[in-house]
Symmetry: C3
Subunit: 432 residues, 3 copies
Amino acid sequence: MGTENETGKRIYDLAGKMFPITRSITGDGVRQTLKILDNYISEGTGRHFELTEVPSGTQVFDWTVPKEWKIRTAYIENEKGERIIDMEKCNLHVLGYSLPVDEWVSLDELKEHVYTQADQPDLIPYVTSYYKERWGFCMSKNQLDSLPEGKYHTVVDSELFDGSLTYAECVIPGKSDRELLITSYTCHPSMANNECSGPALLAELIRYVDSLPDRKYTYRFVLNPETIGSITYLSRNYKKLQEKTDAGIVLSCVGDDREYSIIRSRYGNTLADRSLEGVLKDLPDHKTYSFLERGSDERQYNAPGIDLPVVGFCRSKYGMYPEYHTSADDMSLVSPEGFEGSYRLMTGWINAMEHNEKYLIKVLCEPQLGKRGLYPTVSKKGSYDEVAAMRHFIAYADGRNDLFEISELTGAPLEKLIEVTDTLKDSGLIEW
Amino acid sequence: MGTENETGKRIYDLAGKMFPITRSITGDGVRQTLKILDNYISEGTGRHFELTEVPSGTQVFDWTVPKEWKIRTAYIENEKGERIIDMEKCNLHVLGYSLPVDEWVSLDELKEHVYTQADQPDLIPYVTSYYKERWGFCMSKNQLDSLPEGKYHTVVDSELFDGSLTYAECVIPGKSDRELLITSYTCHPSMANNECSGPALLAELIRYVDSLPDRKYTYRFVLNPETIGSITYLSRNYKKLQEKTDAGIVLSCVGDDREYSIIRSRYGNTLADRSLEGVLKDLPDHKTYSFLERGSDERQYNAPGIDLPVVGFCRSKYGMYPEYHTSADDMSLVSPEGFEGSYRLMTGWINAMEHNEKYLIKVLCEPQLGKRGLYPTVSKKGSYDEVAAMRHFIAYADGRNDLFEISELTGAPLEKLIEVTDTLKDSGLIEW
Amino acid sequence: MGTENETGKRIYDLAGKMFPITRSITGDGVRQTLKILDNYISEGTGRHFELTEVPSGTQVFDWTVPKEWKIRTAYIENEKGERIIDMEKCNLHVLGYSLPVDEWVSLDELKEHVYTQADQPDLIPYVTSYYKERWGFCMSKNQLDSLPEGKYHTVVDSELFDGSLTYAECVIPGKSDRELLITSYTCHPSMANNECSGPALLAELIRYVDSLPDRKYTYRFVLNPETIGSITYLSRNYKKLQEKTDAGIVLSCVGDDREYSIIRSRYGNTLADRSLEGVLKDLPDHKTYSFLERGSDERQYNAPGIDLPVVGFCRSKYGMYPEYHTSADDMSLVSPEGFEGSYRLMTGWINAMEHNEKYLIKVLCEPQLGKRGLYPTVSKKGSYDEVAAMRHFIAYADGRNDLFEISELTGAPLEKLIEVTDTLKDSGLIEW
């Protein structure tokens, strides 16, 4: 078990380092997080993220980069001076982008500024108000219901000012300038699966790609705050991405050990769909969500006029697991095993993409496999089935189908077909 | 209830006025019927049908316009001088296009000229012999079986002469010269659902379309005898219709209150199919029949070389309900509720067609709905789902999909999407 | 029964004549077999097969024509001089392409050279070693297990020498130079279904095609050893076949009376697929196998770059029935009834192909069937359904669909539609 999930353990530990930081869509929390990740990749590879700061007020398509939010402290005291909630204990207690406040209020007034999750009464929900200025707190419904009448001292020591939004990019060149895009987001406070898991896996994948000696593809890794960050990034880069990108994946909620999920692209028919679905289909089980159930940055990559071939990859999909957007999405929800599974899936995808070609067999009629040692020399009932994956690959290696289409047409698992391509290349029967 | 089905009641009353008239594929019954309908539309709109008379003997494609049939009276008397049947009581008693006769015949001879419906022994069937000259009567099988031996006086006072076939047209122009076609038939004697219901609804729809202030489409309403009438109409108009028609619907059996039905076009893939099916899919239930189950004038509109985008719309489909083509298809089979449902369905279709465009959202990436008051300002679990129809519309408003395709792709009901298009147009996010 | 299966009985008898001969992929067994078949077709038609001999060592695509194998005798004697097996009794006892041997060996040594079928212990399996030189025998597992310790005299009197590979072709011209290809193989020793049935049916089909007075198609009949033979044949003929062939069928295992089967082409979308599937669909039942379950010469005809529209036709599919490639595949497995069924199916297919056109009705709107005596003159409930196949044919005779597509679209059986085409041609409503 230990060595089996060694890489998963490394990713888990990296996510754990990111976990305590109070992030939002702008601010130093994002910058600290990116520093941790940058240290991790530079240790393994000598590579660094390239950071971009986009000033508040910048127009990005239909949106405007918001003010930067600095949050120093936030708590509520009762009349006895006891802090009934404090963001030092859990940074979900402060409404994201809360205005500063320092007031004594009645219980009724307090309730107008406190957000709870009625159907999960013992959890603190994650709530934000990015684009309308207000102050507020989050707490469990049980706690709110238990508060006695009285005065409460509400303190948010925050600041909204002209600063900037931060995104990070790391491009690792390959033999071709065709690109694969892998992206995740850095904008939620202490949530493990729906925040830390994606960037941590992405950092490990940078190490993996760096280690591939003869990579065909150029890899573009991007980290940005969700929605406003990907819109900002795309407003400056979408034409380049449209020219170069063969397929892209948004990583989100990749650290738990429940099912594997794909969120398909707008029409579900891109190479990103076919390739990630192709890898997933060889697992015992997985869930396929249509674009109607989108929710993360695949929304922007797939928007009309952007039209990039990008899908989402999750274990439990955001929005579908009970701990989502609450204080229960903590480090106990993710695990080395969970990360290891996601890592294997994603490196399997990279490996398949690196082997992906429209293959064309170099002989007419079936090649004579026997003379190459690839077919049993005694021919009897069943001989023919022993080499089924190879025979099927050859039958459909007609220049029309890529690796994923051959796997789909023949039912042969991708891993088996990748072996076959290596064997046939060695035998001179295919080229690529 | 009363006001709820006010329009349905008007249509029901109009159908009731048409009911007693003895119609056939030619003759004064058709002309009287068209006069009633013309009065109805001119009251509401000042508009009139344009009538065309096509002389007997005119070649129309593979057919010849038949002689005009005038029927004055038809009955059978027994030896006591009692009229055992009389078309004054039910005009289905005379074989359609019967030659004149005035003879005393034996029971055996009589039976050679009487048509019954063996599986519905107490009903009078509707039978015709348009293209082969013979005389005859229809009666219930029970009555025929009960007739004693004896002589019977058979009287049909009819005439076949060179006259003309009559069809009616009413075109209501819109901003565009692209057209929607709505058609029904006027050729059956006293049957309520499979005759009176279609023209009566069509007349009400003329009033509705006339009332639309800014209609985009031009509407073409056509009434003709079934088969020979639509062939005649098309022989003179098909090229114009091919140039202009976006979609058409044949109305038949639209007055009962059972299911709703569509009969698809030849390949089931026209805008008429997609649009009417789109409206029907938002009902709790409906039946879809393929073109293999065609039977009314959609046969001619879809014929090879005519190739018009036309479907059939029914409540209970002709041929499928037990009262079809018998004396049981009377005014008790139809109802204000039944007509009201058909009226709402058809005006819903017109409304959807008027809103139908290939929409293109005017910003790149998702628009910021919040700043337009279209998105909750506090973002928490579930916020995103509140505006699902709008988000889905925007995601697929990429210039490739019309309203019906977006409804199909996203599962959002058409009525909801029509609201969304109005909202987004007001917000300047789409144009049309 | 007797006269019912008269043709089946003839085919059965012809297969029976072929059965005893010891065939392999080369040699005199093939030549004797072709002589028997040639006699059969020349008796009925005066036509002959054209034989081609391709020398050993000839390069054919990726393969080399092997040496010719002559086998005179093969047996194993025990110490008492008793022949425990002898290919005089069953020619499956000798390993196909066995080297000569004449040695006394121990039981252990013997076992290294004897092939059995573990899961069918009382049957002699059919085993070959064409492309690796070795000697060997086949026997039932029960017999091998029962052999006592001792010495055994192993005798194979065979010879491998530079000779040639033989294939046969018979082309019967039609009015068009568009071709249908019918092929089978001649390379297995005494097996009835998986060897004799295909060539015997093919010979009968030559008689049938010869008897068609006005055939449209040119028919190409080909017999060759499986795999190496079709590769050899294609290496010399594939360009011509690509230019001319509309559809082709490989006949294999067509003499038993179990199910009917089709093995689809590489993408399952050729006219061969649609036409044979079209004929099969009108049977009470049949099995459809995808190209993933290919196994006979359809493998070569469908190979990338060859790309011919060829499917396989079987009763029980090779590899799927228990007697396959064993001594149980003898003349008791096939029957006159089985052959008769295959013959009817194949002549049904030929008849359908001869009637296959993209039909276009010559009038606009529906033709008036009544005036041609093709529609009931009294019109009542149900009249319309009596001529459903004709009406459906006319509706889809729009120049886009061939006979098989019309059958698929309308659900009308091919035989019924063929009658309709004859009727409508006589009425001048279609031409072809």
